[in-house]
């Protein structure tokens, strides 16, 4: 700055101040402590109090965890090994019942590799959907995966899975050939073609039940954490697309479609999940023709999916409502049709806004899969409540078992939550 203009009111800057680094931070552990934990006497007391609470909690928890017994055949043996009044937990129940906790008590042990392989393949199949950097070619694995996983977990001839996949592919080809002449025509023709292929496939599989057959395993033999994962993965991946369709349907200008969606969403949201599960378990049997054997897991999947998709639809509707009207108009003014503007402009933005809500529903849904233990399916919680705690050997080992269940669910749910936060950062392009 110059002194030449100092006496006058008018002022002209003659030299500009260059960019300068911010003042150096005060650093060092002691300064950090004083700033954050002991800045005044009240905070100091709070800090000391918090330290004491942490100490009390850890002094109870750590001996229980570290001094635990891992090798024993019953709770009595556990107590003998640990000695009188020992603080250690009886984790031997986990190692002894490990397979039951993961696979249920009637899944044949020589087939444990099959669901395990299905879980490993799930990681490969999910990667291209979850991470944009993974090569797109892997999407073929994603397409085949549901059928492969069914074949691995339930067994039977491989023809069932192949025919199911074939039906989907034929249906899609018919749809894409006819969709130019109208969406409805293409859609229904595609569905019809798929059903025809499935019917023919049914005859073929019935005629040749032993082609590359794995031992068939019934749905009632599924259990443990495997059952929770099956229900969670299937229901989340089905309810997201259904939820999107419901949300768009609710915004539709066609009154019939709109009202079907509104009634479905409001009805399903107004009913507790547990009621729907009882309906799946008991009531549905009355409505179905006698003799039909409608798979229980399938019934439960349908109910949980309906429940979750109604919630997801409402979350996505919030995202759609948050978009400015100008985005719709911008897309329309360029000549994009409804499907294109939804797929390319509206949904990518609306879904991004809805990520926290969708993840909230997904995490809740995954934990709600434990409710199936109430309709006597032996998922992880069902196994603990039923066969394990009821047995002579392990009656009374509550903390270790339920702690283990909580731990498994926590890992999965925390993973989902971390992934969603990463995804939000990846998609942050609006620079607000």
């Amino acid at each position: 700055m110059s002194d030449t203009h100092a006496e006058s009111v008018a002022y002209v800057r003659e030299t500009f101040v260059g960019e300068q680094p911010p003042p150096a931070q005060e650093t060092g552990a002691l300064i950090w402590l004083r700033k954050n934990l002991f800045s005044n006497w009240f905070y100091s007391i709070l800090t000391l109090l918090a330290l004491y609470v942490i100490y009390v909690l850890l002094s109870g928890f750590l001996p229980w965890l570290l001094g635990g017994v891992w090798e024993a055949s019953s709770i009595r043996e556990c107590r003998e090994i640990a000695g009188e009044g020992a603080a250690g937990g009886c984790f031997a129940v986990l190692s002894e019942r490990w397979n039951q906790l993961l696979f249920g008590f009637s899944y044949p042990s020589e087939a444990y590799w099959r669901p395990t392989l299905a879980l490993v393949l799930l990681a490969v199949a999910a990667a291209p959907v979850l991470f944009p950097k993974v090569p797109r070619a892997l999407l073929i694995v994603t397409l085949i995966y549901p059928f492969a996983a069914y074949y691995l977990i339930w067994g039977g001839t491989i023809l069932i899975a192949v025919m199911a996949l074939l039906g989907v592919i034929v249906g899609y080809i018919v749809y894409s050939r006819l969709v130019d002449r109208g969406f409805a025509l293409g859609f229904f023709a595609g569905v019809a073609a798929a059903i025809i292929v499935w019917q023919i496939g049914g005859f073929i599989t019935a005629a040749a039940p032993n082609v590359l057959a794995l031992t068939e395993i019934q749905s009632r033999d599924m259990g443990g954490f495997m059952l929770n994962l099956i229900l969670g993965v299937v229901c989340v991946s089905l309810s997201l697309p259904i939820g999107i369709v419901l949300a768009l349907g609710r915004q539709s200008s066609l009154p019939i479609i709109k009202w079907i969606c509104v009634v479905f969403i409001e009805f399903i949201r107004g009913v507790p999940l547990i009621t729907l599960l009882f309906v799946a378990n008991v009531v549905l049997a009355y409505f179905l023709p006698p003799g039909t054997n409608f798979d229980l897991i399938l019934r439960v999947i349908i109910m949980i999916t309906m429940f979750a998709s109604a919630y997801i639809a409402e979350v996505i509707r919030g995202g759609l409502a948050a978009l400015p009207r100008g985005q719709y108009e911008g897309a329309e003014s360029l000549g994009l049709d409804y499907a294109q503007s939804m797929r390319l402009i509206i949904l990518p933005q609306a879904l991004k806004i809805s990520i926290p809500g969708i993840v909230n529903v997904a995490v809740g849904l995954f934990k709600d899969t434990t409710l199936v233990s109430i309709i006597s399916m032996f998922d992880l919680v069902g196994m603990i409540r039923g066969p394990i705690l009821a047995s002579q050997d392990w009656n009374g080992v509550y903390w270790e078992l339920y702690g283990f269940a909580a731990f498994l669910f926590f890992i999965v749910c925390y993973g989902i939550s971390q992934y969603s936060q990463w995804l939000e950062r990846q998609l942050a392009t609006d620079h607000r």
Partner: protein
């Protein structure tokens, strides 16, 4: 307005032909019970540059939004490039892809880069191969003087730059008519000129343009016809020279004195 002196407009290529670009006959529009547009008759010839002005709520935006069917009209006929607007969605999409539109708030797609914003419609609506679409996009981005921003997102650009991208995005569809809905109203004064310059360049190349704007300097220099609207009706239209010097209706005089008076 002060902007007038700075504009240098090359009128050599501005030619108005006898071909009709837009024909509106007896068009009426209601929002519920509210009669927004009343008996609009307007014929736009190819190569015309029309500025529509009027107080807020006079229906000028609604009028140009009816032309590409962003708003539905209830009575009368609109014909764009020889195609009559009906409720046939395919036809509406076709007209929209041939009529470019720029909005007050740009309406760029924030989740796509500038380049993707420009190539989206050519790729999906015109089925242009991606490489060709990108070439065209870069051509028009150069024209609006921001090729170096092609890989940024709209949120990283200034308002003026965003509006120029919006113009380039419309041009990528090779429209024969451009509609501007208050393109400079949301901009800082410093940025208005860069957008107006782009619009002038377009006019110089003979583009048919309908602009809703309050930039009277632009109207004076570039337009061949100025339309004044009030209460959903066309009150007065004339060549800019006459329009500003000798407004006929009292309503126009009042409007002009209010916006030019200070």
């Amino acid at each position: 307005m002060s902007m007038t002196e700075e504009m240098q407009v090359d009128t050599s290529k501005m030619k108005i032909s006898d071909e009709v670009a837009i024909r509106i006959e007896g068009m009426n529009k209601w929002y519920g019970q509210f009669h927004v547009l009343r008996d609009i008759d307007l014929t736009v010839y190819r190569g015309e540059r029309i500025v529509i002005c009027g107080p807020s709520g006079s229906g000028k935006s609604t009028l140009i939004r009816c032309i590409n069917a962003l708003e539905e009209h209830q009575k009368g006929k609109i014909e764009v490039d020889g195609t009559v607007l009906s409720s046939d969605l395919k036809q509406i999409d076709k007209i929209r892809s041939e009529v470019g539109m720029c909005f007050q708030h740009f309406n760029l797609f924030p989740h796509l880069t500038i380049l993707e914003n420009c190539t989206l419609a050519p790729i999906w609506v015109r089925k242009t191969p991606k490489r060709d679409a990108e070439k065209t996009a870069m051509h028009f981005l150069e024209k609006v003087k921001i090729p170096d921003q092609a890989h940024k997102y709209p949120g990283q650009l200034s308002g003026g730059q965003q509006q120029r991208v919006a113009i380039a995005r419309s041009l990528c569809m090779r429209p024969r008519i451009m509609l501007f809905d208050e393109p400079t109203s949301a901009l800082d004064p410093e940025m208005i000129k860069e957008v107006l310059d782009t619009m002038i360049e377009l006019a110089e190349e003979g583009m048919t343009m309908l602009c809703v704007t309050h930039e009277m300097g632009f109207a004076r220099q570039v337009a061949n016809r100025v339309i004044f609207m009030d209460q959903g009706q066309i009150v007065e239209q004339n060549e800019p020279e006459e329009f500003f010097k000798n407004p006929k209706s009292e309503r126009t005089k009042l409007f002009l004195s209010q916006i030019l008076g200070h």
